[in-house]
């Protein structure tokens, strides 16, 4: 069965189903019903995603699984969404993340649940759109649309300082994306036209835009700043710990599990191929920043006492490596980034689930106040240890393959950078084990004495994550094959 023959294509389903589901969720008043609806809808999305993966033909780069509506045709933009290997992978990640997040939320009660679930699903729609956009303007649209519901989620259901923290997040990313918009418009002026318009926003038009070296040099930064803020790369990262700390757990999972991938995705799809010359020229700066950020964030993570901030900084360190690996322009590095995007998404969601469970039960996030949870909640501890070890890229877990390949790519680029960046794997071990030890080992105390082990739904979610961790750690090849063509296509731009 050729997907083309189905009355509606996968990209459309993936983008519009969450949208519709989200809008419907707004209408449902009863909390239990809306939660069921959200879980159901996200599972259906997952089903669609799986189906699309089954039909994925990654040898046909963009050719298949692309759908385009006339939209703003007189300014050269069409609503073109499509799936290539990377898109497949990241939509799958998005589709997988949401049901897990919903289920892991358990019987969390939200004020105004319908709005909550509705906004979550809208975020999903935005994310899907970002990963599928084949048109610069559409990309920009979804880019913003993913942020707005997230902003509302964080500000509405977050912690005490949520308003300032998430507002910082919003203004920060908004500034970045506006800069990107200027860049998009400038490139647009140098694209070839379509039959209706002088220029075009289509991705291919952007790839073939005649932007000379001088322009590339500053345009590169306009785009990069936007993506760097999103990822976030040192020194654009300060919104992240605050936001993660203040946002509600499930939104944090979305933010860190999926949304930061937007930045990396965007660098691969919308930055490097459009400005290959600038990417080559500034590779040292970007990689330097990323590497500095890795070490910097790791060192800070060692000193964090708040689990959430701790995870945030560790995430910054990991993202730094991904960003650096992209700019090595090597097959192995780029492929590693692909793997790691998926792996990091799952791992960090797992970390958040655990952190959330701990916080819910004990009422504190202070690492120094916790301890001995392993006695009270052995299952939770086992899952945490596995996820934490995956997070520090232990072999046979998913992150190892990605990090291995990224370091391999980085090594090809520069041995010095690799050596410096490599110390982060040591530091990662230091801070992760510190955390594990202080929170889970040792003796119980007053705070943790009443700790209960996790419920069935959380067990299920964590088990799913762990299965993925090992599956991809032992047999990552399917994911590599899926994204191979994307990598090749991107690297071709440097030739």
């Amino acid at each position: 069965m050729d997907p083309k023959n189905i009355w509606i294509t996968f990209p459309e389903l993936l983008a519009w189903f969450p949208l519709v589901a989200g809008l419907v969720a707004f209408m449902i008043r009863d909390e239990r019903k809306v939660r069921a609806w959200a879980i159901g809808a996200s599972l259906i999305t997952l089903g669609i995603s799986v189906a699309s993966l089954l039909f994925a033909d990654n040898t046909k780069h963009f050719a298949l699984n692309t759908v385009s509506y006339y939209w703003l045709k007189y300014i050269g933009s069409n609503l073109t969404i499509g799936l290539d290997g990377m898109g497949h992978m990241l939509t799958a990640l998005t589709a997988l993340a949401f049901p897990l997040i919903f289920i892991a939320g358990g019987k969390n009660s939200f004020k105004n649940a319908s709005a909550y679930y509705g906004l979550m699903l809208l975020t999903q729609c935005g994310l899907m759109g970002v990963f599928m956009a084949m048109d610069a303007l559409i990309f920009y649209f979804f880019w913003e649309l993913a942020v707005i519901p997230a902003y509302f989620l964080c500000s509405r259901w977050g912690g005490e300082r949520r308003i300032q923290a998430t507002f910082k997040f919003f203004v920060y990313t908004f500034t970045g994306s506006l800069l990107m918009l200027t860049g998009i418009l400038y490139v647009y002026q140098h694209t070839f036209g379509t039959q209706f318009s002088e220029h075009s926003f289509a991705m291919n038009a952007f790839y073939n835009a005649s932007v000379d070296v001088k322009d590339q040099n500053w345009l590169f930064w306009l785009f990069f700043v936007a993506f760097a803020i999103k990822m976030p790369v040192f020194p654009f990262h300060t919104w992240q710990p605050d936001t993660y700390e203040q946002a509600p757990a499930s939104t944090t999972m979305v933010l860190s599990g999926v949304m930061v991938k937007m930045g990396i995705f965007a660098v691969i799809r919308w930055l490097v191929p459009i400005f290959p010359l600038a990417a080559i020229r500034f590779d040292n700066i970007v990689i330097g920043l990323s590497v500095v950020g890795m070490i910097y964030a790791s060192l800070i993570a060692i000193r964090q006492d708040d689990i959430k901030r701790f995870i945030a900084y560790s995430s910054i360190a990991h993202i730094g490596l991904m960003c650096a690996a992209i700019f090595t322009r090597s097959h192995i590095g780029m492929q590693g980034v692909m793997l790691q995007m998926f792996s990091h998404g799952l791992n960090i969601i797992g970390m958040w689930i655990v952190a959330d469970l701990v916080e819910k039960q004990t009422g504190t996030r202070k690492i120094s106040e916790l301890g001995g949870i392993a006695h009270k909640a052995p299952a939770l501890t086992i899952f945490l240890v596995i996820i934490a070890l995956a997070n520090i890229a232990l072999p046979l877990t998913n992150a190892f393959v990605g990090e291995f390949m990224m370091f391999g790519g980085l090594f090809k680029f520069s041995m010095i950078y690799t050596a410096v960046a490599g110390t982060s794997i040591i530091l990662a071990a230091v801070y992760t084990l510190n955390m594990v030890q202080k929170v889970f080992y040792g003796d119980t105390n007053a705070v943790t004495a009443t700790m209960q082990d996790i419920g069935l739904s959380q067990k299920f979610v964590l088990a799913v994550l762990v299965i993925f961790i090992f599956m991809l750690g032992v047999f990552p090849q399917p994911l590599i094959d899926l994204t191979k063509e994307t990598v090749t296509a991107v690297l071709l731009r440097f030739k």
């Binding site: 500000s155 507002f167 500034t175």
Partner: protein, 465 residues
């Protein structure tokens, strides 16, 4: 032409209605009917080129699709404004039908400044717009703020009229053959003679004053703040957009060929306007005053149309006029219902009045320029127009950074509505003042904004067909 005549006539009709109709709500319906009628006849003229009266205008008025489109937008927004704010106009004072009459006269003036071909019509049009506004500003006679605003507006407005007239005089003197036709002022693209330059600068300044571009914006916050909110709504939206339209028309048709020589002035204007508008708005506590500053900030963006003066700029301007007017009218309509105009007054609106809060959010998002709203599309066109010129990229970057600042103050309102709780003893809005029709209209407005954001061609196509 049709719209000018009809609005003038309808103004007189409203005036007479004031004398003969005793019911307080009748003028509102009459006015709505007038707006609808004006819209109809304007569309008629657009589609068929059929004027109501065949008047020899000696080429003083230009009725092309662009201008008519703009008039359409102005009329449409006014209609919406009447629908949303009709009841609030009634509450301002006793002379309800006179207020409506004045608004119709303003519309007549807008018709003139949207179609002028000579400086004389421009001058008269601007005066016809201004004088009723002075009156409307001061219509809340007992309110000292209203008094103050009216006086300030009047004095500064007259002053700027003087500037403008001096400019016109110099242009007349400097033109080759002594003509007021904007097409004849400049011939060729040679360096400007000093007299023309003086006239141009003076005219630029007076137009900048009308569109409240910094540093000629000082009247704006005070006047917008002091006027009765319903009239602020009208002033800040339809009138302002019209002034912009006149600005662009004037500079495109009269001085377009010399753009390179005066563009730097526009750059100065844009920078100053964006900076002052956005920065000052940040600290405002009153939403009304914040919107006044935000209107200055938005003017900074609209000035890009004058900066670029290309096809995109015109489309952008029309879009901007629509987007900005719709969103601001909606916001002001909500604001008139509020018990407290400060930002804290919006606390908890999301719980008390979800519809109001939701639509206000859409309006604010549109003003911020979030995608899928008309506000985004209009900013998009403006930036694109500016980038299309290929000059002064830094200005565009500066503008988007300012837009980021604008998110700061617009979102403060959103935060207040959704993320903060209202005081226990007071409600943000009296439920009785929010009718279902009002809500429906707000939703319609919001939908319109999103529709334009999705399909800007709904409006831009008018320019070509």
């Amino acid at each position: 032409m049709n719209a000018i005549i009809l609005t003038a006539v309808w103004g007189v009709l409203m005036m007479l209605a004031g004398a003969f109709v005793k019911s307080k709500s009748t003028p509102k319906y009459l006015a709505i009917a007038g707006a609808v009628l004006a819209l109809v006849v304007n569309c008629m003229e657009m589609n068929t080129g059929m004027p109501l009266l065949n008047i020899e205008d000696k080429n003083m008025l230009a009725t092309n699709s662009m201008n008519l489109t703009f008039i359409n937008i102005a009329l449409g927004c006014t209609l919406l404004y009447f629908l949303l704010n009709g009841r609030d106009i009634e509450k301002v004072g006793e002379h309800v039908s006179e207020y409506f009459a004045l608004i119709f006269f303003v519309l007549c003036g807008i018709g003139l400044i949207a179609t002028f071909n000579t400086l004389l019509i421009l001058f008269i049009g601007i005066e016809i717009v201004s004088i009723p506004l002075y009156i409307l500003t001061g219509s809340d006679k007992r309110n000292l703020k209203s008094n103050e605003a009216a006086l300030k507006y009047f004095l500064m407005g007259s002053f700027s009229t003087g500037i403008m007239l001096l400019g016109i005089a110099f242009l007349y003197g400097g033109s080759e053959t002594g003509s007021f036709y904007i097409a004849n002022i400049i011939s060729g693209s040679a360096p400007m003679p000093p007299m023309i330059a003086i006239g141009l600068v003076l005219l630029l300044i007076s137009m900048a004053f009308k569109v409240s571009a910094a540093p000629f914006h000082f009247w704006t916050p005070d006047v917008y703040d002091g006027s009765p909110t319903v009239f602020t709504s009208f002033m800040a939206t339809v009138v302002k957009a019209a002034a912009f339209f006149a600005f662009v028309r004037l500079f495109e048709n009269a001085f377009g060929s010399l753009q390179a020589q005066w563009q730097k002035l526009i750059v100065v204007l844009i920078v100053a306007t964006l900076l002052i508008g956005n920065l000052t708005a940040v600290f405002q506590q009153s939403v009304k005053r914040m919107l006044a500053y935000s209107s200055i900030a938005q003017a900074g963006f609209m000035l890009f149309a004058v900066f670029a003066l290309n096809g995109l700029a015109k489309e952008g301007l029309v879009l901007y006029a629509a987007a900005y007017s719709l969103a601001s009218i909606g916001l002001f309509a909500i604001l008139t219902r509020m018990n407290d105009y400060t930002i804290d007054g919006f606390n908890g609106l999301g719980q008390h009045q979800p519809v109001l809060a939701l639509t206000a959010t859409v309006f604010l998002l549109s003003l911020t320029g979030i995608p899928l709203t008309a506000g985004f599309m209009s900013k998009f066109y403006m930036l694109q127009a500016a980038i299309h010129t290929g000059k002064q990229m830094w200005l565009v970057i500066f503008a988007v950074l300012c837009a980021a600042i604008s998110a700061y103050y617009y979102f403060r309102v959103i935060q207040a509505m959704y993320f903060k709780d209202s005081n226990a003893d007071s409600v943000p809005v009296e439920t009785s003042s929010v009718s279902t029709a009002f809500k429906v209209l707000l939703i319609v407005t919001a939908v319109l904004i999103i529709a334009i954001g999705l399909f800007p061609s709904l409006i831009t196509d008018w320019l070509y067909f």
